[in-house]
Symmetry: C2
Subunit: 207 residues, 2 copies
């Protein structure tokens, strides 16, 4: 019977996958605003209405790309958690993994946190997003268990998540500002390292 993952080889091979890849590439090049459904179709070598058949609308396609991005992020964070037994080291690895995947897949990342570009109600997207976030909760939960039972994991995770997202999106702008003011420019890797140390420092006394 029909396994949905098997109905691939038709005219084109696997058009949905090709379209998702083309979209990510296009957004990485031209930004979410420069993206165009027709251009994505063009790059995939199909007619302008082909994407709609698989994804319903432009938003649907972008939603699928965002879901892909969260899946990648979850995988990276999961690997970071497995990379060590020390909760502090795990958290540092999560920070590095977050920024690494964001920079490696800028097209995905740009869509993931642009609320109105994707359909926030989409179930697959929500599941993928929560999956990635759960890894961060897991990491901070490990820290709580090992060092500070008073730590409010929810709040700490919210702030860590926000800070990582903010750093990644603001880093280029901050670099520009630093350049123009003759200040020392800190590459984002170093910022993330500082960030994790700073947070781990703060975790000790937080409630």
């Amino acid at each position: 019977m029909n396994d949905t993952t098997d109905m691939t080889t038709y005219h084109h091979g696997d058009l949905p996958a090709v379209l998702r890849a083309a979209t990510a590439e296009l957004v990485a090049e031209c930004g979410p605003h420069g993206f165009s459904l027709r251009e994505a179709a063009r790059r995939a070598g199909v007619s302008h209405a082909a994407p709609a058949h698989h994804f319903g609308s432009a938003k649907g396609l972008l939603t699928a790309v965002a879901t892909d991005g969260f899946a990648r992020l979850e995988a990276a964070l999961a690997a970071a958690l497995r990379s060590s037994d020390d909760p502090l080291e795990q958290f540092r690895a999560c920070g590095s993994a977050y920024v690494a995947t964001a920079l490696a897949h800028p097209g995905h990342y740009a869509v993931m946190f642009a609320d109105e570009l994707h359909d926030s109600e989409n179930e697959a997207l929500i599941v993928a997003g929560c999956g990635a976030y759960d890894r961060l909760l897991e990491s901070i939960g490990n820290i709580r268990d090992a060092f500070n039972p008073e730590l409010d994991v929810e709040t700490a995770a919210t702030m860590a998540w926000s800070t990582m997202a903010g750093l990644v999106t603001l880093a280029p702008k901050l670099a520009d500002v630093a350049d123009q003011n003759d200040l020392t420019y800190r590459p984002i890797d170093e910022l993330i390292e500082r960030f994790t140390d700073f947070f781990l420092n703060g975790f000790a006394g937080a409630r």
Copy 2:
């Protein structure tokens, strides 16, 4: 002689200002993606090509709105700094002021941090952005002077700025997630309060 701020009362009164207001309102309603130059012109009661004359392009108009937003933010942060003599209290007030202005002017805020929607090279925008950021530097500089001469003000400001930006943009999404997982939902005001306490806690031992 021509003072550019005086050439206001013509056919329309002050069309640039009306257009900026209409744009902010429109973005607040429909998001940056739902914004349309022609719709903004429509709301201002002028023809579809009128905005181009004052702002050059859609990006020019959005840049002006972003500049407005940074000016408002700087004013709010400056007021927060004046609100107390205690550096810690100043920092808390900055956090509250940041989120308050972001929520009070969602249209402006959405454009301010959407890198490709405005012209990042625009000088007025850069000046306004740096002006607001400088207030945060000032606040954290006061903390350094009063409590911890080892504190790296640049790095601390980068993280505080990123966290505030991240919190504001992610707050609604995190609220949804919390709702669906039956977790306790923290309103953003409380999150900001926690955030400032957490950072102040971290400042003590940071380098």
